[in-house]
Amino acid sequence: MSENVKTNGKPSNIKLNEIGLSKNDYRGQPTTLCAGCGHNSIANQIIAAAYELDIVPEDVIKLSGIGCSSKSPAYFLSRSFGFNSLHGRMPSVATGASFGDRRLKTIAVSGDGDTTNIGMGQFKHIIRRNVPMVYIIENNGVYGLTKGQFSATAERGLTLKYQGANPYMPVDVVEEAMASRATFVARSFAGDASQVKALIKAALSHNGLAVLDIISPCVTFNNGDDARHSYGWGREHNEPLHDFSFVPREEEIQVQDFTEGETRTVTLHDGGQIVLRKIEKDYDPTDRVSALRIMEQAYTDEVMLTGLIYIEPERPSLHDVYKLPLELPLNRMTEKELRPSKASIKEVNAAMF
């Protein structure tokens, strides 16, 4: 990256990257998510990663389902084509979309509800297909956009106002990805900017489906019992119009860099805590058995393991399997490439009997 360069003869003290673009060229519309929402942090790291990797914005397509998380593609990479599809159905749309021009990078954002509730089937199947793309799950354990119902990643026993206690076993996105034999599986925390960015960069260069499960606190709805209590009466009424009475406007939680192998406790907006543990430095993420082992260990220890958990770089991507052209992308082909010759119709008719 070059900094403070001049482009087009115009002096500039904006930092430009190797392809002459400023970070602004990677931004999106102003966010409409709640102040303090983890999803915003992630969008920022996507912007940073793309900028630092000198990616041409037009060389990216971005997709999502429906939810607060799924709104975020509007908040990064305005110059990229985007598709905000249907609730739970981003994987299928992304699969088809990625065939248009295989040279483009695909960045997809989804929520825990979008992916593990309504979208569970498509999530599992896109993994099997190894569609080359970055698949980010902004995981907050609730449905943000519909105002705070449990999602399938909510812990068993989690208690939310209006919802009672969650009686079901949570879906563990990483475990699901491993069970479906994903070729890239990572977990991070929205507030750990440098890890999030590093993992997005790694994912962007993976030739296959990269699952990034990013814990991304919902400041508005997933508030632990205590915290809810401490907000006081503000939320303690049954409001049929569904406009929750109080939203704390806070900064997004940021975690200071910490070393691999270490454990760090993070206090969320609501006073609840999660314990992050970064995978050890000498851990071999290409070894599936180790991956399963450390995951099970983390489960027992009740810590959130973060980092690149598993990678299998060699498995051919779906585009490889389908032998998609690299030079002339499918979507630029014309009648010449696509319509068989006029002569051939005779043979076809002859072959019909």
């Binding site: 409409t32 249907l86 609730h87 509730n117 956009l145 009424h237 049929p240 406009d243």
Partner: protein, 610 residues
């Protein structure tokens, strides 16, 4: 305080006072807690005996985007949304300018003085107030200050309009379920603001409220809560749902309300189950399973959910499983405008499912009717053994409505033709799940757990004979489908009849349904003022009952007014009464807003003038 240039000097020739007759719109930021303030205003006015309605125009967003709340105060009892705003309260910096422009000449504009703008209108009364100050002075914890700040406008309006303080107290009491601390905190701010206004503001506009006696016989309710309560009185036993605006609060109300009304204090066991499913496919699948097993089962959703339920709807139609499906309509197609209202699912829901289907639909037109159809839908579903769709909408479902009190069901539960062990002992003929014994197309069913060894049957979406056995026989298929047509014929007589309102010198008819009711009622008065009498038929169900045909026949022309683009109900009427099509005219509006009476009357006048 007055850091802004509040042009309090802009005096007006205050003509007469206009009492209990205006629309007031409050612009805030969503997620800022303004709903409590707005509802407090609405409820206080209601308790003053003045007919009111409140409409929340909110974005599909959690926090930070503009939202407006419009309260219509109408001594004449008109409850529809109006396009004109006599009073506007601006609390949102992002919409200040446009909010200012909204006020009708001669109207009033209130704003928090933390918003710094030049004000370029002198045809209206302008009032600014130190919204943030009262909150600060209230001693509320810092985190709650922004929230409490919104109470300031309640206090200011109380003084300026004449809203009674004890009614405000009553509203807060209700809102906070009697919890002292929040009630006091809010009341303090309101009172401080009211006192401040009394001292600092001089009224320069004509709008006032005064006590009336017009709401005693009413309650305030939203359609979704009413529907949930109706379902509880209908004996709902199984409800599966998936969150979606504007339907979520139906299931959430059900969850909140059913315990106290249905739990046996002496037992830990339940008479019902409510499940949040993983999606709408599962939600309706569960409800159909429960319906098959003999439970009163329902699900509630909105457009996208209905679309996902298509295949299952066809199964329920064909396998004849009773199930109730609430569609709280929002604007489609697709994700559309998730927080705007619509009547756009009429056609697609009626024909929901591949192959030949004709789905029964109930259409409530008020909160009270949401309650009524809440229980009635189960009776009809079990009587007909078919899915029953109840077509509500966002406006009806999520806004607060003045409503007649809910009435305890006037008939005992109708469980339809279901046979248990005792019933089967007396059967003369061999029982067949799909036999049309009574000639009405409706067969007899049994439910799992029935110990009679002849009672078991195999439900399926594939072709079957009268004994529910698999069959690919062509004639059998055709006969069974004809029986389903007969059953649909039988459905006609079970449907709630339309409501007829006769007008003076009525030459023309208006046909409408659902939440447009209030706009139509007002539009008829407007039309009458213009010398155009109208009769009005409010449909409450599809298929139509015989009154509908008569109404169309009896009028030279009937305007079918609805909130969708394609005139969906008009089309259904066309299909049902081809011979009367020439007498029908379609009037549609599909901007996502609750229907406006003036638009209706103008459209009709314009059309009549042609």
């Amino acid at each position: 305080m007055a850091a802004t240039k509040t042009k309090e000097t802009t005096k007006q020739e205050t003509t007469e006072r206009i009492v209990n007759d205006f629309s007031m719109t409050i612009g805030t930021m969503n997620g800022s807690g303004s709903q409590t303030s707005n509802l407090t205003l609405l409820r206080a006015l209601f308790k003053m005996g003045i007919p009111v309605s409140g409409k929340n125009l909110f974005p599909s967003n959690i926090q930070g985007l503009p939202t407006w709340y419009t309260i219509r105060v109408s001594k004449d009892g008109y409850l529809a949304r109006r396009n004109t705003h006599e009073i506007v309260v601006a609390m949102n910096v992002d919409t200040f300018v446009e909010d200012l422009q909204k006020v009708v000449p001669g109207g009033a504009f209130y704003y928090g003085d933390h918003l710094k703008f030049d004000i370029d209108r002198d045809d209206i009364a302008i009032y600014s107030f130190p919204a943030k100050q009262f909150a600060k002075e209230s001693g509320a914890p810092a985190a709650l200050r922004d929230y409490v700040a919104n109470m300031a406008y309640v206090g200011v309006l109380a003084t300026m309009l004449g809203i009674e303080m004890d009614k405000i107290k009553q509203a807060l009491d209700f809102h906070f379920k009697g919890k002292e601390k929040p009630i006091k905190l809010n009341m303090d701010v309101i009172e401080a603001a009211a006192a401040w206004a009394a001292e600092n503001l001089e009224s320069q506009d004509p709008y006032r409220v005064e006590r009336m006696d017009e709401t005693k016989e009413y309650i305030m309710a939203d359609g979704n809560t009413a529907a949930a309560l109706g379902a509880i009185y209908g004996g709902v036993q199984f409800a599966s749902w998936y969150p979606i605006t504007p339907a979520s609060s139906l299931a959430e109300s059900l969850t909140a309300q059913i315990g106290p009304l249905r739990d046996d204090p002496e037992s830990d066991e339940k008479t019902y189950a409510i499940i949040q499913a993983e999606d709408e496919l599962a939600a309706i699948g569960m409800a159909i399973g429960a319906g098959w097993s003999g439970l009163r089962a329902m699900t509630s959703t909105s457009g996208p959910g209905i679309s996902l339920m298509t295949e299952f709807a066809g199964l329920a139609y064909y396998a004849e499983i009773p199930v109730v499906i609430w569609d709280v309509q929002r604007v489609g197609p697709s994700t559309g405008l998730p927080t705007r209202t619509s009547q756009g699912d009429i056609l697609s829901t009626h024909f929901l499912g591949h192959g030949d289907t004709q789905n029964v639909m109930l259409i409530p037109g008020s909160a009270q009717e949401c309650f009524e159809f809440g229980w009635k839908a189960f009776d009809i579903a079990e009587r007909l053994q078919t899915p029953v769709f109840v077509m509500s909408d966002l406006d009806l479902g999520m806004n607060q409505w003045m409503s007649k009190p809910f009435e305890f069901p006037d008939v005992p539960m109708d469980r339809g033709k279901i046979l248990w062990e005792e019933d089967m002992k007396d059967l003369k003929e061999r029982w067949g799940r799909y036999r049309d014994v009574d000639g009405d197309g409706i067969p007899y069913r049994t439910a799992p757990g029935n110990k009679n060894p002849q009672s078991a049957w195999f439900a399926r979406g594939t072709g079957h004979n009268e004994f529910a056995k698999y069959s690919e026989d062509s004639d059998m298929w055709e006969e069974n489908m004809q029986r389903l047509s007969r059953k649909y014929e039988s459905a006609h007589s079970l449907m709630p009849a339309p409501v007829l309102e006769q007008g003076k010198n009525a030459e023309i008819g208006i046909i409408s349904f659902g939440s447009t009711d209030v706009a139509i009622l007002e539009a008829r008065d407007l039309l009458e003022q213009d010398g155009q009498g109208t009769d009005y038929l409010r449909l409450r169900a599809v298929p139509f009952t015989k009154e509908v045909k008569k109404f169309i026949e009896d009028h030279e022309v009937s305007y079918v007014v609805e909130m969708n683009r394609d005139g969906q109900m008009y089309k259904l009427l066309q299909l049902e009464y081809p011979e009367l099509t020439a007498k029908l005219k379609s009037l549609t509006k599909h901007d996502g807003l609750p229907l406006n009476a003036r638009w209706v009357s103008s459209a009709i006048i314009e059309s009549e003038a042609k």
